[in-house]
Symmetry: C2
Subunit: 220 residues, 2 copies
Amino acid sequence: MASLTEENYLKLIYHLSGPGYEEVSTNALAEQTQTKAASVTDMLRKLAEKNLIHYKKYQGVRLTEEGQQEALKVIRRHRLWEVFMVEKLGFRWDEVHPIAEELEHIASEELINRLDAFLDFPESDPHGDPIPTASGRMPSAEYEKLAEVPVQQEVIMMGVSEHTAPFLQFLSKSGLIPGSLVQVLEVNEFDRSMTIQINEAHPSFVSYEVARNILVQTKV
Amino acid sequence: MASLTEENYLKLIYHLSGPGYEEVSTNALAEQTQTKAASVTDMLRKLAEKNLIHYKKYQGVRLTEEGQQEALKVIRRHRLWEVFMVEKLGFRWDEVHPIAEELEHIASEELINRLDAFLDFPESDPHGDPIPTASGRMPSAEYEKLAEVPVQQEVIMMGVSEHTAPFLQFLSKSGLIPGSLVQVLEVNEFDRSMTIQINEAHPSFVSYEVARNILVQTKV
DNA sequence: ATAAAAATTTAGGGCACCCTAAAAAAATGT
DNA sequence: ACATTTTTTTAGGGTGCCCTAAATTTTTAT
């Protein structure tokens, strides 16, 4: 029903509206879609006609329930294909995003549900992001930022909130991958950088910029 | 480089030009693409500009070497995804074609070569059609039609030359799937129908229309 | 409160891929 | 051989998604 371009808009609106489902601005969409604001306005009018978004001129945009379900389907497909590529085909976690951007538009529900089963119903993708269920619910992953963990605390690395290839490659090189045991040894008050220990290895140093993009869970 | 629509044209020209690489007519393409002849002419002009086809007005069309390589890439992807869906996801052979029509346009060579390895470098798809190699060669499968096998001869079912779901479903129901051992028990001279035995089972009856769409190999 | 700046929409147009109608070329039948 | 039929191309136009330029609304700053 929704075209490839429409699906990309819905997914983007979902991501940009954040946990509070705030209104998304035309300019924010133009920036992320690599298009101009005028083109975004065109598309918003179309999505509104299809009842996929709530749209009042000059007022920003929110997904309707229907639009959100569409967005979650696309995100589910994206993340399942990422799991497939890493777990079954041996890709690294920093390589799979661009290919999943294409695979996510293959619509067959049968395909995606069988893939889900083949992968043993994973709950999160290789970056730690939760996978929406077949029934259209996004599991809420309540992680905290490594940057906010107090000294001495031990945590488990669960995922990232920044998905660029260079960042992911840097983490791999440091041994910081989902599942790692991390202990905060020292926090530098001045620039909020940290010294941490990863899986019993030698202490490592991470900047605040890095630490705030790493999601962790307090050790159970 | 080639758009989704262009890829579909190249694949279609490949299939319609047959083993002898004969010229394909505008009307034949219009019929198969579910479009009108005028639209086909538009596209042919575009493909010729990109050096993917040899095209002289009113003279029909052939693939260039470059165009054939593109077509073989698409066919390779299509057939590998079909193997994946049947072997790994448990689809039936009559279900996978429409989904593979979408998956075949995901261009990543890395993806497809890793998929190839994951599937153990299959030589043919679930319908017995050969899978082009990564280097762009179509393995020649020299099978004969079941319809041409003499009485008493034992053969192995290798594939089909008709890929519609109803035909494939009929074959499954009869136990006629690639790998089956088939012996021709009797041929009816009048309508060329056959009585055959499949894998030691009770004798079955197949019409000429069915027998000429089943590809077999003489038992080794 | 209102002028200036920023954000957004409208107007008008381009390219890819499709259409119908009409013209042109090729194939066919006598 | 040539009139008729069939095939193919050209002409002109439509929709989806993008653009620039100009107009409009909202926000910000004084």
